[in-house]
Amino acid sequence: MLYVKNALTRKNLMALTGLFLSFFLIIHLFGNLQLLLPEEEAKLQYNWYSHLLAGNIVVKVIAIVLYICILLHTIDAIYLSLKSKKANGPRYAIDKRGRASKWYSRNMMFLGSIIFLFLIIHFKDFWYHFKFGQLPVDKNGNKDLYTLVIAAFDQLWYVILYVIAIIALGYHLLHGVFSAHRTLGLYHPLYSKIVKFLGMAYAIIMTMGYIAIPIFIYLNR
């Protein structure tokens, strides 16, 4: 599939990987909402939960699929952006084409790049530390990821970084979820409208949910 030049096939891959990532975001959000519990409870439960995920073989397989999805989605994003560049002729001197579409639908690569940079920081600060770093353990003997996360969100600049990245993700999803269904061939007028609405609701809920966590933690300290 990596060598397929056909844009429709490439976009199918983009849509499927994008939808899988979108599905993952739901689970990831539910897991992280545990951070908002009262401190003592949250600490033990969150560390237990992280430990549980790290040890489970099914979760390990899903995690690998997830990494592959991020990779394929990004590769396709770059491939299609280059293809688009090649297909475009010289620029228009006066270009008012933006009136006909939403800005975020035209800037999926820009939004995606913000998400990608964010993912690098996100992986390095939490995932890498948890997996390969030396973390102290809590009283149940689980690695204390909770304290690491809380300490990170104690810094204002870090919270702001998160909020910006999540807003970019929100707009990416606002267009992405609906677009993926189009790409996969949903042509029914009514269902298409329903999916557009559900995609919007989904994007708003995800954005609110993910933004709430760092802000809540910051304000509660």
Binding site: K5, N6, A7, L8, T9, R10, K11, N12, L80, K83, S84, K86, A87, N88, G89, P90, R91, Y92, A93, I94, D95, K96, R97, R99, A100, S101, K102, S105, R106, M108, H175, F178, S179, H181, R182, T183, L184, G185, L186, Y187, P189, S192
Partner: protein
Amino acid sequence: MMKIHLKIWRQKNSQSKGGFKEYTLDDVHQEMSFLEMLDMLNIKLVKKAERPVEFDHDCREGICGQCGVMINGIAHGPLKNTTTCQLHMRSFNDGDTIYVEPFKASAFPLVRDLKINRSSLDNIISSGGYVSVDTGQAPEANTIPIANEIAEAAFDSAACIGCGACVASCKNSSAALFTSAKITQLELLPQGQKETRKRVVAMVNQMEEEGFGHCTNTEACEVECPEDISVLNIARMNYEYNKSKILRNK
């Protein structure tokens, strides 16, 4: 009478370097169509022994799809669902400056000035946009019953005049709206079923080969389309394409 300043893209051929040239017309009528205004300019240029501005046009009644140009950065100008030939000078004000550029895409090589070569669209149609029928006498109209809604839907897709505004309006220069309309108009009708799987694959492949970009579903094409062709045609094309790839039988 209106005074109109024009900045028109002049370019001798695809190899030479182009640029804007300024012209001012003092006696433009509101009732003139955009192309009549350009005609007026050309008469003046010819009288001065200058090379007239070349632009495509044919029917001048909005049905042939020849006349697309970029007017102030929008395909076919400011009005929605209107071809350049159906745009009138009453849409502009006295003293306006109007930029006129050709449609730009790698698959639309420039011929001269505002004139481009849109053979790439024709090539997509010839790759599969037909039905196999026996020639001979015109058959009885009701031999193949077709529900009215289906006929209407097919006609909505068939309304595409192939002007290329969708490509020009797309940030990726994608011909997805054009190609999908040409596929759907046949896909909906019983006559089109014979080639159904072959057609969509052939036409999509040809679209790729001509160097058009991919579809990001921004829906700009539908907004600027003179015939208001629905983007759901694109979803339909994707569906038919995926179906024929998955259910492939040689």
